[in-house]
């Protein structure tokens, strides 16, 4: 990888815990891997994804400008680049984006940004994605236990 694309995202970089990318659900790491994989394969320039992500998150931020700071728990999520080691209290650290909850789910915005970019690049049509998601939703309960 040339440079560090995640670092380039600045304040819109993924949440980290103990310096490591933080995923709450399996799909989040899949979407992350999908995005990085296509970027590394040259499907899009990093700046193009960055612009989509900033648009997604920016919309949420503008809508929640006052809450965002109070709800983030600095000890829970970390920004990239890490702003020094700091104690668990994280005093003085800029309020990072919360990972989830309170109407904000970082990876949901990442997913949305990637979907838009993929559609714009002609990799898929959003209608096809909607249709496939609906098909998957119609599977009988418990299907995933057989697979996992």
């Amino acid at each position: 990888m040339s440079g560090d694309p995640l670092a380039a995202l600045g304040t819109k970089a993924p949440p980290r815990k103990n310096g490591e990318l933080h995923f709450d659900e399996a799909w989040e790491s899949r979407v992350f891997g999908l995005t990085m994989s296509l970027h590394e394969a040259g499907a899009f320039a990093w700046g193009e994804f960055q612009a989509e992500l900033i648009a997604s998150i920016g919309a949420w931020e503008r809508a929640h400008a006052s809450e965002a700071r109070s709800e983030a728990k600095p000890s829970e999520v970390e920004q990239w680049p890490r702003s020094g080691e700091g104690g668990s209290a994280g005093a003085g650290r800029a309020a990072p984006l919360p990972t989830s909850g309170a109407g904000f789910h970082y990876w949901a915005y990442w997913l949305e940004a990637f979907e838009r970019l993929a559609a714009r690049k002609g990799l898929l049509e959003l209608a096809a994605l909607d249709a496939r998601a609906a098909e998957l939703a119609a599977r009988p309960a418990g299907w995933d236990h057989a697979r996992v």
Binding site: E20, L21, D24, F32, S75, H105, L123, D144
Partner: protein
């Protein structure tokens, strides 16, 4: 927050495939559909996604644990404190204890003694030191087999130990976490503390590998 109790890799991640609310389920389905479509169209391979996720998991996770080990290798007094009172030693380096501050015990490898850590009940893990647990750590086969046949499991990780080595398996729990202090690799005598940090892999802190130069490729199983 919803994941309040997952901070030290307790139970939550084992159930990541059971989204708890409709919005989470919708997102999971959408992500799955996205991957399936792009794979079918030959735009991306699942293996590439696996490799990238593994690379990020391995590269950045165990930094804090590695710092403790490098300091212990460099400073015998610090090592003594780390082994007798890990909490105080962790505080000395201003490393976070993690939200729940679950007590951590550091177990030392030495010639003839090798330690390996598991959580047989779920996937308790010192996340504040090692990052998120790797997928295999949470897998039922690892959790069951490493207790029954540790040597065989270690061999599958590429770690062949002499018959004479005493293999000790430590079972983590919600009340107590373990981290392995690996042996300082031969040839690293002149390395600075910062260089030593580079030699400490996540796997060596769990005990399924020795400390040493980084492996060629990340292993996930």
């Amino acid at each position: 927050m919803a994941h309040e109790h997952d901070h030290d890799g307790e139970h939550g991640h084992d159930h990541a495939h059971e989204p708890s609310d409709p919005e989470a389920a919708r997102l999971a389905l959408r992500a799955e559909a996205l991957e399936a479509l792009l794979v079918e169209r030959g735009i991306v391979r699942r293996e590439s996604i696996d490799a990238i996720v593994a690379r990020y998991e391995n590269e950045i996770g165990p930094l804090n644990g590695a710092k403790l080990v490098a300091r212990a290798w460099s400073d015998p007094e610090f090592k003594r404190r780390l082994l007798t009172d890990a909490r105080a030693a962790i505080a000395e380096l201003s490393l976070p204890m993690g939200e729940t501050a679950t007590p951590i015990v550091v177990v030392e490898n030495s010639p003839g003694v090798h330690n390996v850590v598991v959580c047989t009940l779920c996937s308790c893990y010192p996340s504040s030191l090692l990052g998120l647990p790797p997928r295999w750590y949470k897998s039922p086969p690892y959790r069951a087999r490493v207790v029954r046949e540790p040597r065989a499991v270690l061999r599958e990780f590429g770690l062949e130990l002499p018959e004479s080595t005493d293999v000790r398996v430590w079972d983590s729990s919600a009340e107590l976490r373990y981290m392995v202090l690996p042996e300082r690799p031969p040839g690293s005598e002149r390395a600075s503390e910062a260089e030593l940090v580079e030699l400490v892999s996540r796997d060596s802190l769990i005990g399924v590998a020795l400390a040493g130069p980084p492996a060629e490729a990340p292993r996930e199983r």
